[in-house]
């Protein structure tokens, strides 16, 4: 088959050019700015600002939140998706309602999401006070940050897995059960291989989103240095203190993480596509 490149009109060309320009101005220039900004200060200043105790702690905090949130979100996301698609015992209406509510975090501003957690579990509420008493304060502490990030990232996994489950249907699972496999075996041997690339993509999205989450975490964490400060809230504070060089260094680390994730996303997407074709 021979395919001729399609003719593009003058307006088309200028629109395409405009898109490229927007891409360069909005994405590439700021990224380069961060890289050169960090480079201009020299390696010494770069490492120095990253080795500040509060920076190290913020990196550790971000890392912990990302790991815990990704694990929880993967587990509960897959579970929720299975219930939405396969949970016949729940009734269609309930599942439809669940399916719509899942998208709530997309519609609600993360700051509001964080604020809801403060309203619900803050130190002045009954529940919050009780939890603080038993030694597990939620708001202005790690659990709250995890909760807030979980709120923001929850739809990502569900939205990846639900369509895959719908597409593969129930027949393969039924075939497995008639061949003697109980639900756990069926899940691992039949369902999981079909959804794993969807899950992988969901994991990458979750990591990216929780790495960069700012609003919800800022409200819930209280942004306490060396305690609840994450990398994003540290950048915010550095900028606020006119410590541009330090903000630049932390941002660069975040940017490198984002680019890596972007590449991972491409790879996961490709694998997902390969599997979808292989029907």
């Amino acid at each position: 088959m021979t395919s001729r490149p399609p003719r593009i009109s003058r307006t088309g060309k200028s629109l395409i050019g405009f898109t490229y320009m927007l891409f360069i101005v909005l994405l590439l220039v700021p990224l380069l700015q961060i890289v050169f900004g960090a480079g201009k200060q020299g390696m010494g200043s770069f490492t120095q600002s990253l080795l500040r105790p509060e920076a190290l702690h913020a990196m550790w905090m971000t890392f912990s939140v990302v790991v815990v949130v990704t694990l929880l979100n993967t587990f509960f996301g897959i579970l929720t998706a299975i219930v939405i698609v396969r949970g016949d015992w729940l009734g269609r209406r309930v599942r439809q309602l669940m399916n719509s509510i899942i998208d709530l975090p997309f519609a609600v501003s993360p700051v509001i999401g964080g604020f809801m957690i403060v309203l619900l579990l803050g130190p002045h509420t009954v529940l919050g006070a009780f939890l603080a008493k038993v030694g597990m304060p939620v708001v202005y502490a790690f659990p709250g940050m995890v909760l807030a990030t979980l709120f923001v990232t929850f739809p990502l996994m569900v939205r990846e897995v639900v369509p895959v489950l719908q597409e593969i249907g129930t027949q393969q699972e039924e075939a497995a059960s008639l061949l003697g496999a109980y639900s756990w075996t069926t899940f691992w041997k039949v369902t999981w291989p079909s959804i794993r690339w969807g899950v992988t993509y969901g994991v990458v999205l979750t990591i990216a989103r929780s790495l960069g989450e700012f609003g919800a975490v800022l409200v819930v964490s209280g942004n306490i240095i060396n305690k609840t400060q994450t990398m994003t809230t540290l950048v915010y504070q550095d900028v606020d203190n006119f410590n541009i060089a330090a903000a630049n260094s932390v941002s660069l680390v975040l940017a490198v993480g984002s680019v890596t994730l972007l590449l991972l996303m491409e790879w996961a997407k490709k694998r997902k596509g390969v599997q979808a074709d292989a029907h």
């Binding site: 075939a175 496999a181 079909s194 599997q275 292989a278 029907h279």
Partner: protein, 354 residues
Amino acid sequence: MHIEVRDLNKWFGQYHAVRNVNFSIEPGQLIGLLGPSGGGKTSVLRMLAGLERPDSGEIRFYDKVVNDVPPQERGIGFVFQHYALFKHMTVFDNIAFGLTIQKWPKDRIRARVAELLELTGLSGIEKRYPHQLSGGQRQRVAFARALAPEPQLLLLDEPFAAIDAKIRKELRSWLKSLIDRVGITSIFVTHDQDEAIEVADEIMIIQQGSVEQKGTPWDIYKTPQTPFVAEFIGESTILTNVHTLKGFDSTSAWPNSKALIRPEYIEVGRVGELRLASASERGIVKALHFRGSEWLVEVAVGELTLKTYRTLENPVLQIGEEVQVLVHRIYLFNEDDHWVMENPLKEDPMPVHI
């Protein structure tokens, strides 16, 4: 396996999908569940498999009620309409799945899979994935996978529906001989009467959730027990006012009854071609359709239009030609009763030859 089903009912919300179904199946039989789409055939099959719970009634295997036995423990092989092969597994792993679950030793699994590959004519492609196979091959893999754990009962849901016409015929006879060879009790669902007639030892006709008739294909064709069965099996035309036909004037005694006539009940020929002239009608050829191996002839007799076949051996008729029509028998039915009526004039002791 001996199967007994009593008073089976299934509702899907407000929809009564299966109504008071009763039947029993002797070991080793090949049964076809035949009926229009949406008639409840697949629901019956899925309840036998344990994939669906009956709302009332009993299913017995070997005289033991199995209503509460999960599908994993029923020992049933099931072939799905779209095969439901595990698409991330090779042909070998697909067939071996049930055996792996049952923790057969590796060498026995390998031997059993090799045996099935041989039986289904799939040797040599065991390393391929389902998406690398043709429709017919996928079908065979699905059979092999269902048969691997040596089930007592094989259930097949529209096994040929997704295969193109030519290969379908081959697969049908292949399946029949395979099931005969394995000797396994089998039930298959189909909406294609040719398929049921060709493959099944016995047919169960299911319509709107109830069993209309159960019997050998020949019995069902010869003596349909309900008008629905008569109409569903074979080709037919339904007529009122059949008393205007020569020989059937006595049917006017049942004014509310209708007549069903099959093309093969009618003979048509040029004037002088038929032997029983005294029993035949005059008619005009209205239309001719070439059916590949015969002509389908539409003949107008008085106000009625009859359909019949004519072999290619006889001279070709022309539209508008006057012909002789002999109706051998009709199938009469009304709300209470149904019976077959032979043409009494065929018994004429002194046929007149023109």
